[in-house]
Symmetry: C2
């Protein structure tokens, strides 16, 4: 499909601190222009705008900041791209998740109602709001007790970040706000409501964050077992669930005014940043894994079959593209472990050298580490500084380093941590394959792509070629692809992805000799992994308990 | 016994980089004056004085440097003390061990013979010469094969540092030098030869470094199994062995000229720095353990009984004082592990803070670490960065840290390492007690005494009071005490120690609450200790092997 002037779509990616709009050519995915808008309030984790202080582990956001992305970033991207509104055939969004808010039946966030602006629970809870851990623990306990069939789909664990734990916290701590919330809605769907003027709900967040499995939410009996007042909770969620890549509606007059786009422009159903990136990375076919590698790593993969893979974050039918089972796995600490290493084990002479040479400590440590032969540092680490998400699903595990000598240098530790995260990825891949879900292709995206040594190390340790997402704006590009499908420019997401996605195939190839050497080290990693992670030793849990007591 | 002017003795301590003379009042052990002489050549580990390069792991010394200590430090100490030579009733020495050299039958070091000055093997091998590891491995293997009864007295391991391994290396690599060596003699005995003009040999080094057990050296058959030419090796050692604290002879005219002391002054038999310190620390009674805590820790203790305590460095009848069994145990890495931590995990802002406040990084990390409650850092370490001497006797083990999180700070790591070394000491004490050798008293000496937090932590973890050697010059003071015994001022070493030793009793007392908390952490340490050190996991050995291959 071509037009003259060419058709474009707009993808809008709502991140943790800012939102980005990207204008993309429908024909070939060429990125024509983009603009970023930083949220005025960022993450609200210390005090409400009125100065009211928040307890620890809270993290809120302000809906107006999101609207401002539509208001500033969308027109900005159009300007940079030099395209006119009539060229825009569709718009789609993606959002962090689970970021969720209480709203009226008309879609107004409760925090914008007079009388509720001073109530913390009236605000959207950002994905990283971690104050609902007691509620999450209760949900898991009750689900185990009553044998809820959906629990296995989430690796046996319902996160404190997800819809139910956060909502239950509202009910327990501010029942008035809970009662006032006609709707409990993912920001991913709320932003689409802002665009279309009508509520819609997407299958992705409903499945991954809302425990929607096999066509239903958890039943009222189960919910009542959590809290008598929670029995009817799903009434705040119930709404037809839309397939990804379909139109949620058309741009309202108000949203057209806000964005500078034409009223009636097609708006796609909402989506999640990680999941929508699969379209940008052309990682949609069954067995094609996408790893989005940043402070943590998120693994997204489709399959024809719903298998019982241990330690998944979620398995959702139609969760990434219609017709397939979308698997999500995760490593809770990756880039933030390297940042910890830089913070903790960069001596002053290293810092001085990096400064002198105008490179970052990460680049310096990487350079020093890269020259070593495999196994030369004699170290082995467990990458559990933030616990282990997949495949052990145990947030009370901790990091470990063995092999230390008086000759161990900071770059040795750094390399060992890089390797450990790659062993962690390999463990996840092997869990898929052992469960009968082959992983045939591995694609990487995210901020860690810029570390070429790290990527090569992953290729060597996985002993696989690694494809690389060839866009710095993966989520926004993915959203733009979804917009093109919703607009009818392509028959489905996979076809659109094939035309518009950006992939550098086989960007890294394993070195056979290094792969063999790493096989031996990986065997050692697995021994430690199973010893400390699977009951051989409970020392990590006991140390954590002693720490908590102290 | 008093005289007017008062009688004094001189103790001379030969260290790794310098020698120190100390003048001490015989009556009460008061330290009257001291002087230090730095060895001109220090440790010869890169090249001989003529420029000839040395292989890795070599460490030699130059005998003239030792003579210069007699020549400069002894008169210097007399001057500072303001005593006249006729007040000096005796002189004694102590030396690093095993520091050993080839000499002629007249006591001339081979390296001083024309024609041999360019031969590395003609020089004294310092204790830390580690190039005879293949020879040590062979000795252990053959001893195991032939069931040598003495092997158990050394924890099943003969060190590459000791007399046989070093001599066998000479034979294998430079048989001419080996053949030219009429005598193979500890520097501890050689220096006494310099003073008296006649050879003497002490029971301490013969037992701990020369495999002299139950009245004999290893037999010729065993020695021949190491190398056909080695069968007669002990002829280079054979000499009557003198009890510690007895006179070796009297000061020769030449030595009197050298030192400024009177000809005929009593000279005590040679001794080892660590062992002689027991006299200074009044730690001679059975069950009184002395821990000399520096870069590594050496534990010395007497007992009435020869028991099979696992992992000893040596058990020697009369090895510390006549009539008792002297036990030596050791932790191969202590202060040098803390130095490693400072080198590796002191970020630039910590270094800057220490500089600004005019304190060392050790002091800063200690201060930050000291404020924490027990277990607050959530970490546990194994203090095996230099392997484990006692009780596992395995130099291929390595350090480990578990419990790491993104919140782990440098001071947390530092404290965990301090604690790990204390757990290591507790493991040694428990090995003694389990073997039926009670440890009733614990006294600490050495450079780590200056860290009060560390000492208190040891007291808490051992759950014992800690006495402190109240002299900065423990070895020299111990030697001076031996000199007083040799001079007849006291009936035996224990009596002299009681009068002249310096002890701050119960300087540290355990805090009951911390002791209870540490009991729980120690249990975790022991679990890791046994898992990684006793065959639960061989990962440390395998990592080391991979490192060596790499």
């Amino acid at each position: 499909m071509t037009t003259d002037p060419p058709a474009v779509t707009v993808g809008v990616d709502f991140g943790t601190l800012s939102g980005r709009a990207l204008v993309v050519a429908v024909q070939d995915g060429k990125e024509l222009g983009s603009a970023v808008h930083d949220y005025t309030h960022g993450v609200v984790d210390e005090a409400l705008p009125d100065g009211r202080e928040l307890p620890p582990d809270w993290a809120l956001q302000i809906p107006q900041d999101w609207r401002d992305v539509l208001r500033f970033a969308v027109p900005g991207a159009l300007r940079e791209a030099g395209v006119r509104p009539e060229q825009v055939v569709g718009i789609a969004t993606d959002f962090t998740a689970c970021t969720v808010l209480p709203a009226t039946s008309g879609g107004t966030p409760l925090c914008e109602l007079p009388g509720l602006t001073g109530r913390p629970h009236a605000y959207p809870k950002l994905w990283r709001h971690h104050a609902a851990q007691p509620e999450a623990d209760l949900i898991v306990r009750r689900a185990e007790e009553s044998g809820q069939p959906w629990l296995a789909r989430y690796g046996g664990k319902i996160s404190s970040e997800w819809q139910y734990a956060k909502a239950l916290q509202v009910l327990r701590e501010d029942p008035e706000v809970y009662a006032a919330a006609d709707r409990w809605i993912e920001a991913a769907d709320w932003i689409v409501w802002e665009l279309t003027g009508a509520e819609s709900r997407n299958l992705c967040t409903a499945g991954y964050k809302g425990i929607h499995q096999d066509g239903a939410y958890p039943d009222a009996g189960f919910l009542a077992s959590l809290h008598p007042g929670f029995a009817g909770f799903t009434a705040k969620l119930e709404h037809p669930l839309a397939q990804l890549g379909t139109p949620a509606g058309r741009l309202s007059a108000a949203a057209a005014e806000l964005t500078g786009l034409r009223e009636g422009t097609v708006v796609a159903v909402g989506n999640v940043d990680a999941h929508v990136t699969s379209a940008a990375a052309q990682a949609l076919d069954p067995g094609h894994m996408l790893a989005i590698m940043g402070t943590s790593t998120c693994h997204i993969m489709n399959s024809d079959v719903p298998a019982d893979v241990p330690g998944m974050c979620g398995v959702v039918r139609d969760g990434v593209v219609p017709g397939l089972w979308g698997y999500e796995a995760g490593q809770s600490g990756v880039g933030d472990i390297f940042a910890w290493a830089v913070r903790t084990t960069t001596p002053q002479e290293y810092a001085a050298e990096a400064r002198r040479r105008g490179i970052s400590p990460h680049e310096l440590l990487t350079e020093k580490a890269a020259a070593q032969p495999v196994g030369g540092h004699g170290l082995l680490a467990l990458d559990w500084h933030s616990g282990n998400r997949s495949v052990l699903v145990d947030h009370h595990l901790s990091g470990l380093v063995v092999g230390l000598t008086l000759d161990t240098r900071p770059e040795d530790l750094y390399r060992a941590l890089v390797e450990a995260t790659a062993y962690g990825t390999r463990t996840i891949i092997e869990a898929f394959e052992t469960a009968g879900v082959p992983v045939t292709d591995f694609t990487a995206g995210g901020g860690l792509l810029k570390n070429r040594f790290l990527m090569q190390t992953y290729s060597d340790i996985l002993n696989r070629p690694i494809n690389v997402l060839a866009s710095d704006q993966g989520p926004a590009l993915g959203a733009a692809i979804h917009a093109a499908v919703a607009a009818g420019a392509y028959p489905d997401i996979r076809a659109a992805s094939a035309a518009m996605g950006r992939l550098d195939r086989r960007a890294y190839l394993p070195d056979p000799a290094r792969a063999v050497a790493y096989d031996r080290l990986y065997a050692e990693y697995r021994e430690l992994h199973d010893h400390f992670g699977r009951g051989g030793s409970g020392v990590m849990h006991r140390l954590r308990a002693l720490r908590t007591q102290a």
